[in-house]
Symmetry: C2
């Protein structure tokens, strides 16, 4: 007997047929003797409808009212799933953010969970009742509904798992696990059985869309084992209501490093196309120049990622290159231009035709030559590296976007990740 | 300066344009120096969508989950109206049933309000903030959302008005007031300036659809003056966003009898087509027969309205005729048939081609001959009266439905109600 949290996203509960499919997944776990809390998103499309209404009402709107409106999406799904579970003989009830309660700070629209009172939930779970929890929402210090912002339902699920001391938090999604890289690019990509929190964090923040960074962080802090698995049935299994007997099976477990027996040197390859490169040509090479470039960007809450400063030719002038999210490029250029007199550069160049490719693996800590293999592999293919950045468990390079697929496939092979 | 509660139904908030129209109505009252609480229904169509989803999830569903799902309709409108008001410079915030709180009993799906804690609302109203309250909902003793059942938003509005000690509760609707009778039938129907609670109660329970019986009852108990008025602009007034300067103006005030200076003998004529007549022929005319007929119907919660028992021809057999809601006719016939051995009747006749026409007026208490005039007027037109029932302030007759319009128009003229 285990205590499980199961999380289902918007496409998994898009209509009543899919909600019945979810109920069948839940029943399978209940029939296996487990205690189950389910966290649900809004039915796909509903959140957009609600957000559009708030925009139609006013371009700038009170985040507290936005939260009151938008949180109804998850409320509806929670009620409908509870009804659907009861209809197949599974005891269930819905829980809203203010009922559990899921206490958050007062940052409406992007609130952070501060505490979850798990007692009431645990009591019901122990009686065998399924707790169907509306994701993405909580209650603020002002006694009003808050929403958690992007990726909120994953975060809800992990926080609930921590609060009820769940043995595992299963994130059901439209893929059946975490892959060594994007299978749409590399046909030989392998599904990972296990991956460490740290690696998953890097994967998520470096571009893999399967889990939100924030939920992985929370899982790591609280030691909640996550499983990423598919909410859809195996293509050759029975479709529709009869699901539950035949499904994709286990996905990928995200857990502590020491629970992974045979650690690969490189576990995965991530990429992100949402990068833009800015180069400032011939900046005065003197103390404090970096601060003069990056302080105004920080003030404008523009996140600078990779930075490289070339060796100056004559000791007087240097080039500074860095990346920002491509959505922020226009603003970043404005900020730099308005500080031009202060920074003193000859020319500003920007480029969005770039991609950041990263290799990730905790094994790097104990292995040498991992980065060198990356650089050699790319050089062999004639791919020019524009910027490099590294951390303890990853190496990222910025390359021309036309080389994306070529680079990812070559690296996947070079690090022995290809499916046999 | 007055404290007002304004209530808007589903068609008045059907889309963002109409919500802007509502906001303009509210702003007009704020600009006039009043304190305003607004009670809103779900956007027209939303409640049906939500109800249909719960039905799709399961034919029989947990009323607590139904309430969690269906109450989101009003929650969305409340948030959107608050945003819209803020957008035109009016301070506003939304209040959900559990926030106010509106405490109800535990009868999910048809809960009754037990207490409204008005302090928080009054505090905000006094600061000039508009309270936008989600109608139709409250919170039960189980800390879960309840809905109030049919006509719930009108009831919410009146209860809120009582709790905040409002000077008036304005019910905005798709008609501009209470008429002496249905203007679709009688072109000369007049809008009433004032009508007493008791008359309005009779009008509502006898078929006039303008207000729910329950909300009028509540208003009478708490002495809340109601006003029925139009949420739409006068046909020749400016349409769309520019509303607020030109509108239908005052509607009909529902108040205590003693506040109406010149009381008509008959204030209005109501009719209901949702009646079915059942006649039991040749029932044994002996003590206890009525109980044997009506007890099983009461047990089946079928509401018997008008009853007439003919004088028996020979002292042994009599005919009993009564009416039930036409929606319950089939069940009523089943109930009677299954008690046939006990009741002992020769024949059961039923008829849905009937209409109940009622004259209503507190003036009847002090005037004689009011009923006689009704019978004479109908006789003059050759209309046969099938059943009669009376109370202190109304006389109802059951007639063939083909005579509806003829009867209503003749009575309207006979009691001097025609517009000059």
């Amino acid at each position: 007997m285990a205590r499980l949290v199961m999380k289902f996203g918007g496409t998994s509960v898009a209509d009543l047929d899919r909600i019945r499919n979810v109920a069948a997944h839940v029943k399978r776990e209940i029939d296996a003797g487990h205690q189950v809390a389910v966290v649900v998103s809004a039915m796909a499309g509903q959140t957009n409808q609600l957000v559009n209404w708030t925009r139609e009402a006013a371009k700038l709107h009170d985040a507290r009212e936005y939260d009151a409106v938008v949180s109804t999406g998850e409320q509806v799904t929670a009620g409908l799933l509870a009804i659907t579970l009861q209809n197949i003989g599974v005891d269930a009830r819905s829980w809203l953010g203010w009922q559990t309660p899921i206490l958050t700070d007062g940052a409406h629209g992007a609130a952070r969970i501060q505490e979850i009172k798990g007692e009431a939930l645990i009591e019901r779970l122990e009686l065998g009742q399924v707790a169907v929890i509306a994701g993405f929402q909580g209650i603020g210090p002002d006694n009003r509904i808050t929403t958690l912002g992007r990726g909120g339902s994953d975060t809800s699920a992990v926080a609930i798992a921590a609060a009820v001391k769940a043995d595992r938090c299963d994130i059901y999604t439209d893929v059946d696990g975490v892959y060594t890289t994007d299978p749409r690019i590399v046909a030989k990509a392998r599904k990972l059985i296990k991956i460490s929190y740290e690696e998953m964090l890097e994967m998520a923040s470096l571009g893999a869309k399967v889990l939100q960074t924030r939920s992985v962080e929370l899982a790591m802090v609280h030691g909640v084992p996550l499983q990423v698995r598919s909410s859809f049935d195996a293509p050759d299994g029975p479709q529709g209501h009869g699901v539950g007997r035949d499904y994709f099976g286990p996905g990928t477990i995200v857990c502590n490093e020491d629970e992974i027996v045979e650690q690969e040197v490189v576990s995965g390859i991530a990429y992100s196309k949402d990068e833009a490169k800015i180069t400032l040509r011939k900046v005065a090479d003197q103390p404090g120049v970096a601060a003069r470039v990056f302080s105004p960007l920080a003030d404008a809450t523009i996140n600078v990622d990779m930075i490289v400063q070339n060796v100056s030719e004559d000791g007087k002038r240097t080039d500074i290159t860095f990346t920002v999210p491509s959505a922020d490029l226009e603003r970043a250029v404005e900020v730099i231009n308005s500080s031009a007199a202060d920074i003193q550069y000859e020319e500003l160049l920007s480029d969005t035709d770039v991609v950041k490719v990263s290799i990730i693996g905790v094994g790097m800590r104990s292995h040498v030559g991992v980065a060198r293999k990356m650089f050699e592999t790319l050089a062999d293919k004639g791919i020019n590296i524009q910027v490099i950045s590294t951390s303890e468990i990853k190496v990222s390079v910025l390359i021309g976007s036309e080389y994306s697929e070529l680079a990812i496939r070559a690296l996947h092979t070079a690090y022995g990740l290809d499916h046999e």
